[in-house]
Amino acid sequence: MATHEYNPEEVRKRRIKGRRKRKLREWVVFTGYLTPSLLGVLLFFFGPMLIVLVQSFQRSATNSEFVGVDNYVHVWNNQAFRSAATNTLIFAGLAVPLAVLLALLLALLLSSKIPGKSVFRSIMLNPMMVPVASIVLIWQVMFSYNGALNTYMGWFGIDKIDWMKSNWSRLVILILFLWKNLGYNMVLFISAISAVPSEQLESAKMDGANAVRRFFSIKLPYLWPTIFFVGIMSLINSFKIFREVYLLAGDYPYDALYMLQNFMNNMFSHLDNAKLTAAAIIMCIAMIIIVGILFIAENRLGRDTEE
């Protein structure tokens, strides 16, 4: 019986040891679940990203002489990079607000009392599933110089517009972007609208608040998080617009459609490692800043509505 003597110090030690062991086991298990992904991400993204960072300060891929920020200066002063960045930002600046606003309006429409809502939702979500490559033909038939739209406009005596080879090309791409992305955004908004507490809406209705008033003072505060989420998703998608441009206009689009990805493709085909890496780092930082601003803005607005 002497060995089983109660020793508080011993018990405490054993308990701490047990807790430590459990914590360690927990760490091992959950790190195990993460390992495949972590290894892949380190090997394919984070690791090479560091190499990109290092190479952006070197003369070229073969000559590892340290050149400071020369590459950054070159990229920054590069006319093609500038116009590519401007075009991409102009497009995002037009496309993201429109994608958010129109999707919100559509979601409000489909949250009202109109008949056939679920059918409309399916139809409007449908374009999201259709590969752009499949419908560019129709876009070309519509918008090319001898295309259908110019013919129809001719009936009303409107002059032909060279849609794809003028600044109107931005509009053509914008319509394609909205066609493809509105459905996804709309579904996000519909679910957010249905989560607005209905008692508040009812009581506001009893108090005589009209639909516009009800939207701005009750629904909108609940919708801010979704608006930001949709905004960020649309922003990511607007940076993918190169796809649409490439499929519609090929390798050498009109100047207004020359996007950052076109610039990168050029650098790839010239194997210009210095500019490539520096441009990637610049865009990475720009992206982090933009997203950071959005997150901060969301937090601010979120706090306002909670108060």
Binding site: M49, F120, L125, A133, I138, V141, N146, T151, R243
Partner: protein
């Protein structure tokens, strides 16, 4: 007695006297007397009120119906806009090659001005024709039996997309589970860096992908696209958000029953996240089925390119079969949409909720 003198004035003008029923029975009796005194008047008032109320309801329903009609027309317009390109592509795919050339050659000649000089157009103004003169399967025949490259590219697409979707879902589920269950500070930092990576556009991520593909010697092979796709963090953000919504009481209960982590993962977590996983698989499928950026840079051989890239070349050179090619290319995602729309909508909906 003073009170009784006032009551008639109060009760008369309002026919609806619900409140008064709550009061004592004596006062009720008194009121009944008063009401009986002015019965005819009251009856008249009731009638007036009824007519007025009916009129108001009629006006309101009329206004409401008007707005609903406007809304319906708007929704219909948007729906037509959404469907038209798809429907036109399908209908045009049943035109014969000659008919396509008659109607659209002007369009495609203006696209490549060099070709315009050599070819003679059959029609200088294109007609956006809805319905083919007669249904012809000649486009499909040419495409499926006479040009093997097309089918080859189709299989290229399948061979690239299927491993990416399956792989990313598997690895993504494991990682999301880890992020959802083990929430220590350093893990949250790692999670945040995953999110940043998810937000990075191709313009940024393709450079490291290109470097590593060269270093591993997989440049210009499918692996150069499949591996980064499998390890992309796109699915992890949304899946782990979803998994965090699983009530911890479920997990505690399972633990008490002696379930280990693997059991909790496979028997509780995965079944509960079924719709999110399906939705994610659909989103990934459509994104990679549509890919253009990665193959353009990571694959040099035209023979290895997926259909999404090849289609733009068909479109430019062989207008006669392009519509059928486009339609066949959109069949797999459309079938998936028909089958999985519910999961997709549910998955998207819940992903937006914080």
């Amino acid at each position: 007695m003073k009170k009784n003198e006032i009551t008639p004035l109060q009760t008369l003008p309002t026919p609806a006297s619900e409140e008064k029923h709550d009061h004592g029975s004596i006062r009720d009796l008194q009121e009944v007397e008063i009401v009986r005194l002015s019965e005819e008047e009251l009856e008249e008032m009731h009638a007036k009120a009824r007519v007025e109320a009916k009129r108001r309801v009629r006006v309101r329903t009329a206004v409401e119906k008007f707005w609903i009609a406007i809304g319906f027309i708007l929704a219909l317009a948007v729906a037509i806009f959404a469907l038209m390109p798809i429907v036109l592509t399908i209908l045009d795919s049943f035109m014969s090659t000659d008919e396509i050339k008659t109607n659209y050659s002007a369009v495609y000649n203006s696209l490549s001005s060099a070709a315009a000089e050599t070819k003679t157009y059959l029609s200088s103004t294109p007609k956006l024709k809805m319905i083919p003169d007669f249904v012809s399967f000649s486009q499909y025949k040419t495409l499926l039996f006479l040009s093997p490259t097309y089918l080859l590219k189709f299989w290229n697409s399948v061979a690239l997309v299927v491993p990416i979707v399956l792989g990313q879902i598997m690895i993504g589920c494991l990682a999301s589970y880890s992020f959802a269950r083990y929430r220590k500070k350093r893990r949250e930092v790692l999670f945040f860096s995953y999110v940043i990576l998810m937000l990075m556009p191709f313009q940024v991520t393709l450079v490291p992908n290109y470097l590593i593909a060269n270093w591993l010697g997989i440049y210009n092979t499918w692996w150069a696209i499949i591996l980064p796709g499998v390890f992309s963090t796109f699915s992890i953000f949304l899946l782990s958000k979803y998994m965090r919504q699983i009530p911890s009481s479920y997990i505690e209960a399972a633990k008490l029953d002696g379930a280990n982590e693997w059991h909790i993962f496979t028997k509780i977590c995965l079944p509960m996240c079924k719709s999110a996983i399906y939705a994610m698989a659909i989103l990934l499928f459509i994104d990679y089925w549509n890919m253009v950026e990665q193959p353009l840079i990571l694959l040099e051989d035209a023979g290895k390119q997926p259909l999404s890239v090849f289609l733009s070349q068909i479109n430019a050179s062989e207008v006669g079969v392009a519509f059928a090619a486009s339609f066949i290319f959109m069949i797999p995602p459309l079938l998936i949409f028909l089958y999985g729309e519910q999961y997709l909508v549910e998955g998207i909906s819940r992903s937006g909720i914080k």
